[in-house]
């Protein structure tokens, strides 16, 4: 290893020299001296004498990415697969319980006199009778309000606010 005197004599010109950087890593006094002249030198010193990893940068990056893929792959297969099957099992069990319950309910309701179909028919008639009064109104600037009517009411009020209408209607 070079001496402190040699380091300080060589430092400003041979800042990337491996021996200079090696001295820097082992001598705090010279490190302080070097940082005063070139703040970035500390980072280069951390990398050692040869900043390029063995096999080149591409090989190094390739190794890192392979490791990342391997780890993420191992994480996604094992535990997730079993969790998925567990979820499917739970969902299927729940569905089976619900459908069995419904089947049981239906078999009980099939006893004559229980009006399952009437409920369905009533629902259909509600949907069918809820057709709007105004099917369409030719204007880009109209607001249509259909005032709700009570059941059995024979009169329906509809209001149209239309900016395209003349003022002297």
């Amino acid at each position: 290893m070079i001496s402190c005197a040699t380091f300080r004599a060589t430092f400003p010109v041979s800042v990337d020299d491996a021996q200079v950087l090696e001295h820097l890593r082992s001598c705090d006094v010279c490190l302080t001296f070097a940082v005063e002249h070139d703040p970035d030198v500390m980072f280069r010193a951390v990398g050692g004498g040869d900043p390029i990893p063995p096999g080149g940068l591409d090989a190094f990056v390739g190794d890192v990415m392979r490791e990342v893929r391997m780890r993420s792959g191992s994480r996604s297969t094992g535990p997730k697969e079993s969790a998925l099957w567990r979820r499917i099992a739970i969902a299927a069990a729940l569905s089976a319980v619900v459908s069995s319950g419904a089947l049981f309910y239906q078999s009980r309701s099939a006893i004559p006199g229980v009006p399952l179909t009437i409920e369905r028919a009533a629902m259909t008639s509600v949907i069918a009778s809820s057709r709007p009064v105004i099917e369409n109104y030719e204007s880009d600037s109209a607001t249509i309000i259909e005032v709700p009517t009570a059941a059995g009411e024979d009169v329906q009020v509809v209001m149209v606010f239309d900016e395209s209408l003349p003022a002297d209607l």
Binding site: S100, E135, Y137, V155, V157
Partner: protein, 217 residues
């Protein structure tokens, strides 16, 4: 183990579902008076999610597949719909509306006075009225007083909703020998129900036009 349990449960669920499903019925309906296409649009609201429709032989036959109870209801509605064109009677009344210190309502609007109370106008003036009758599909024109005219076309009565579409109802005003359209709309009038149609520029307008329509068979 978990996989096996899941597979067994899924299979049992499928079998239970199959047992649960109601059988579907198929009916073919041949139209004599009305169009199958229009009927298809009309009965959609009566069909279940499992039901399906298909048209055959042009526009005269409809094949309906649905639950037995739905098929019965649909067949009844179609039989009612596929009747010769029915006669419709339409009463049209036109009034102007504004606000004054004292409320006033003409005699021919007394029957709807409680309903007119919900709009922000208190003075109503009769501008004209007419009664017209026509068959489904017919066009009609009515003169409403000296200054207004309404023209329209009767649609086909929808047995599912009991309503008559009044297509392209156009209200026009005669101004200096020139007839200008005020508005054009298509309405669904429920048989026997009166519709009060109030039109104005905006909610704060000083004047509005009120058309009162009642359709009967």
């Amino acid at each position: 183990m978990t996989k096996r349990a899941a597979i067994l449960l899924t299979l049992s669920l499928l079998l239970t579902g199959a047992a649960f499903a109601e059988p579907l019925s198929v009916v073919t309906y041949q139209f004599k008076h009305k169009s199958a296409e229009k009927a298809a649009a009309m009965i959609k609201s009566l069909m279940s999610t499992e039901g399906s429709l298909s048209m055959q032989a042009g526009d005269s036959t409809l094949v309906i597949t649905d639950r037995t109870e739905n098929v019965k209801a649909i067949s009844a509605a179609l039989a009612q719909y596929d009747a010769p064109a029915q006669t419709i009677q339409l009463s049209v009344r036109l009034a102007s509306a504004r606000n004054e210190a004292t409320a006033r309502i003409p005699d021919n609007l007394r029957d709807v006075a409680p309903n007119l109370a919900m709009v922000r106008y208190n003075v109503f003036e009769n501008l004209g009225s007419a009664n017209v009758s026509g068959k489904e599909g017919d066009s009609g024109i009515v003169e409403l007083g000296p200054a207004y005219r309404a023209d329209f076309r009767f649609g086909e009565i929808d047995p599912a909703t009991g309503s008559i579409p009044l297509s392209d109802f156009r209200l026009s005003k005669l101004d200096k020998d020139q007839l200008s359209q005020l508005y054009k709309t298509t309405m669904n009038l429920k048989v026997g129900r009166t519709v009060i149609f109030l039109a104005t520029r905006d909610p704060q307008s000083q004047r509005a036009l009120v058309v009162i329509l009642t359709a009967k068979r």
